[in-house]
Symmetry: C2
C-alpha cells in the first residue's frame, strides 16, 4: 500500500523547491559538451580519445527493497545560435508560457537532473526512499553510446546484479497533453546491393542499347522490394509479423495523436493512411522498407550522359515482433538473387547485410509498467497512453538482453520538445510534474505485490 | 574521268614528303592548348573570355569546280604525363611500330594538318587542285563548340554560300584494318523527373511505413522505362523507328567488327546480344534508354537511414530516324504522368526535358559518299564499311541544317586510337594514306557526273 500522505508531502516539497530545480537544470544546460580527450579509444580520425565517463551511482542498499536502475545521458546534440535559435542554446531561458528553452533541456538533462531532484525531495520531506536506486548516466548517447554495451555486459553480474527493473527517461509523449509509457521499438536490418557490369563507366551514346546496364538492373530489383503504399514484397518477410489482437487494436483508440500533427512534422500531407490508428500501427507494429539511395550512379545537379559501371543500392527494413534479423537476412538475400536471376542480365550481384538490430517489446502488464501507470494516474489524473516507437533506442535492447529484466520507457517531455532541433524546450510543468511522477513511480513499485 | 596518272604522281609526292608531314604534326601537337582570354563570352565562372578563333579559309574560286567544306578542330582534351602517359603528351613520338603518339595526333590535329598537306602535295606535284576548298577549323569542339552554331548560321548565305558538300574528319574506323564512311548518328533527349513529398528529409524509423516515399515512387517509375535487355517501354516511342530494310541489314554483314573488341573496350562480357550485327544495330539504328542516376537520395559511401524528401531521376533516350525530339518529349511526359497516376501516391511529379537533338542520317548514295567510297577503293583496295555511330557529333547536324547539303564523316584514324585517353596515337600509315585519301576523294568529286 502506497502511503498517500507521504506522497502528498513529497509533492508539496517538489512544488516548493521547483525554482531551485529549474536553477539546477539551467546550470546543467550551461555545462559545455564534454570534450573527448587523451588516450581512450579510437575516434573517426584514428586518434586515441578518452570517452566521456559513464556515471554509475547507488542510492540505498536495503535487501528488503526493490532495486531500480535509471538510465539517462548528459551529452547533447551540437547547437549554435547561428543555427536559428531565438536565444543562446546553452543559456537556458524560461519563456512567459513556462517553457525552459535550451539545448538538452528535454534531451536528456531534464530527466537526469529530475532523478537527482527526486532523491533530494525525499530527503527534504524526510520521507524514506522507497527503493534502492542505481543510476547509469552516459555521455556518448548522441554518438552511438560507444563503450556502453561493453560496460553493461561486464557489470551485468556485478554492479547491475541486483537490479529488478530498468527505467529509461529519454523519449517523449506522443502528443502535447497526455503522458505515455513506451513498451516497444522497431528493429532494423540495413542492406547494400551492388550490381557490377562493365569495368569502367561508359558513354551512353556509344554503348547504350548494347550492354546490360547495372543501373537498370538495380532499379528493377528495387522496384520489387516495396510498393508505393509501403507493402513489403519480399517473400516471407511479413510472415513473422505478430498478429494484431483485438486488445492491442483497442488500445490504439485512446491514444492522443492526430494526423494534423504528423502533417506539420513532415511539412506535407503525403501520408499513406487517412486515419490515426493505421498510421500509428504502421509506424510501430508493422515493418517498413525505405530505399535510401544509390552509390555509383550520377547524383550531382546537372546532367551527365554516363552509363554507370557499378551501382550500389542502400535500403533498410524496420523490424517488428516477431521478426528475427537473421531470418530476414536469409529471406532478403534469397529474394534479391532470385529476382535478379529473372532479369536475365549478364551483370553480377552482391548483397550485404550491414547490421541487424532486433525489435524490442516489453510486457506492459509487468509490475514495472503497472507502477508507472498508477503513478501517471496519481499525477495527471488520466491513464497514460501505451505507445511504441518506429525508430530504435539501442540501449533499451542492451539493458534487456544483458540484465534480462523488464525495461520501461518513461518520458518526461512532450512530443513537440524539439530534441535535436533549434529552440529545444522542456515545459516547466513537465519538469516539475515529472519529478513528482518519478517519486510516485518508485513508491508504486515499493507497494507492488506482483514480482 | 579521274586522271589516274596525276593521282599516281600525287601519291608519290605524298610518300616522298611524309617525314615533313610527320614533322608538321609534331609541331601541331606541341602547340599548347589555346587559352581563352580577354573579353568574349561568359565562361563557367561568369568571367568574360574571348573564345579561341574559328579559322575560315578558302582555296580556289573556280566557278566550274565544286566547292567542298572541310571541318576539323585544333583544340584537344587535357593531358598530363601523370595521367599515365608513357611519353610526354605534347611531345609527339613515333614508336617502332610506326604509331605517332601525342595528344591530338588523331583527335583532331592529324586530319586538319592532313588537309593542309594535301593542298601542298598538289602544289609540289604541280597538279591542279580539283575543287574549291573551304576550311572551318574551330578551337572549342571539346567544350561543346561554343560559338560555332551562331557563326555557321550567320555565314550560311555568305562565306558558306557556294558549298556543295561537307566533309568532316573527326571520327574513327570501326576497327583496326578497314576504312569506313559514317552516314548516321543518334540524337538524344535528356530528362529530369522530380518526385516531391515531405518538406524535408525524414528519419526512416519514425516515418517509414506511414508516408509515401518519393524514392519508392521514382524507382517504380524508372522500372517502367526500360527492361534489363534494353527494350524501351514508353508507349509509342518505338513507333517511329525506321524499319530495317533487307538492303540495310545486308550491309551489316560485311562490317569489320567483333564482339571481342567490344568486350575489351567495356572490360567485361556483359553485352546483351551474342552477335555483332544485332549489337551494331542496337548501337546505331535503334533507340536506347539509359538511367544515369538520382539526385537528392543518399549517394555517398556508408549508410544513412534517411527517407529523402525530394528525388530527381536523370535519364536520356538516344534517338534514331525517324524519331522526333518534340514527339518523344510528348510521349515521355504523358507516359510518366500516366504511370505515376497508377502508383496512387500523394507525392507530386514534375518532368523536364533538358535538351533534344535530332538523329542525323545522310544519304550514302549521294555523290559525296560515292566519291569517298571510290577514293577508299583506290587507296585501300577495298570497299569502305558504311557505319553509323551511337553518340552524337552536334556539328554534323548543324552543318546539314544550316547549309542543307550532304555531310560526310570521313575518318582518318583507327578504332583504337584512344582519343580522349592516355597514349592517344595515329598510325603513320593512316596519316600518310589519309592524306592520299583526301586527295583521291577530291579528285573523285571533280569527276562526279551526279549532282
Amino acid at each position: 500500500m502506497v502511503n498517500d500522505t507521504a506522497l502528498e508531502t513529497l509533492y508539496k516539497t517538489v512544488d516548493q523547491n521547483q525554482d531551485d530545480y529549474v536553477e539546477r537544470l539551467r546550470e546543467a544546460v550551461a555545462i559545455p559538451r564534454y570534450e573527448a580527450r587523451d588516450i581512450g579509444c579510437h575516434d573517426m580520425d584514428g586518434v586515441n580519445l578518452q570517452l566521456p565517463p559513464i556515471i554509475l551511482g547507488t542510492y540505498g542498499n536495503d535487501p528488503n527493497k526493490k532495486t531500480i536502475l535509471v538510465y539517462g545521458h548528459y551529452d547533447v546534440q551540437p547547437a549554435l545560435l547561428e543555427d536559428g535559435w531565438d536565444s543562446k542554446p546553452f543559456d537556458m531561458i524560461e519563456t512567459p508560457k513556462g517553457q525552459l528553452v535550451g539545448r538538452g533541456a528535454s534531451d536528456d538533462k531534464g530527466p537526469i537532473i529530475g532523478w537527482l531532484n527526486c532523491i533530494e525531495a525525499h530527503q527534504n520531506a524526510d520521507i524514506e526512499f522507497p527503493v534502492n536506486l542505481k543510476i547509469c548516466f552516459e555521455g556518448m548517447e548522441e554518438n552511438g553510446s560507444e563503450g556502453l554495451e561493453e560496460l553493461i555486459s561486464k557489470e551485468a553480474d556485478k554492479y547491475f546484479k541486483d537490479v529488478d527493473a530498468v527505467c529509461i527517461s529519454d523519449n517523449y509523449w506522443l502528443g502535447m497533453t497526455k503522458p505515455c509509457l513506451t513498451y516497444g521499438l522497431r528493429g532494423i536490418c540495413a542492406y547494400k546491393v551492388a550490381i557490377s557490369g562493365p569495368g569502367k563507366d561508359l558513354h551512353s551514346g556509344v554503348f547504350g542499347g548494347t550492354v546490360h546496364e547495372p543501373m537498370t538492373d538495380l532499379i528493377h530489383l528495387f522496384s520489387k522490394l516495396v510498393t508505393p503504399s509501403g507493402k513489403i514484397l519480399i517473400t516471407g518477410v511479413n510472415d513473422d509479423v505478430a498478429l494484431l489482437t483485438d486488445a492491442e487494436n483497442q488500445m490504439y483508440k485512446s491514444l492522443e495523436f492526430s494526423l494534423s500533427e504528423l502533417h506539420s512534422a513532415i511539412e506535407s500531407k503525403t501520408t499513406i493512411f487517412d486515419n490515426e490508428i493505421e498510421t500509428l500501427q504502421h509506424r510501430w507494429r508493422y515493418p517498413s522498407l525505405t530505399l535510401h539511395g544509390i552509390e555509383g550512379a550520377f547524383s550531382s545537379p546537372g546532367f551527365k550522359t554516363v552509363l554507370p559501371a557499378k551501382v550500389t543500392g542502400k535500403f533498410s527494413i524496420r523490424l517488428v515482433p516477431n521478426m528475427d534479423p537473421n531470418r530476414v537476412n536469409e529471406l532478403v538475400e534469397k529474394y534479391l538473387k532470385d529476382e535478379f536471376a529473372k532479369l536475365g542480365s549478364k551483370n553480377t550481384i552482391s548483397v550485404e547485410c550491414l547490421h541487424g538490430a532486433k525489435p524490442w517489446i516489453a510486457n506492459p502488464n509487468h509490475w514495472n509498467y503497472v507502477a508507472a501507470s498508477n503513478a501517471v494516474e496519481r499525477i495527471f489524473k488520466c491513464k497514460p497512453d501505451l505507445t511504441r516507437e518506429g525508430g530504435s533506442i539501442p540501449v533499451t535492447l542492451t539493458f534487456q538482453d544483458a540484465l534480462n529484466k523488464n525495461v520501461l520507457l518513461l518520458p518526461m517531455g512532450r512530443g513537440d520538445d524539439g530534441a535535436h532541433s533549434i529552440n529545444e524546450k522542456l515545459d516547466r510543468s513537465n519538469y516539475v510534474q515529472g519529478i513528482k511522477l518519478f517519486g510516485a513511480y518508485l513508491h508504486e513499485i515499493a507497494s507492488c505485490k506482483d514480482e
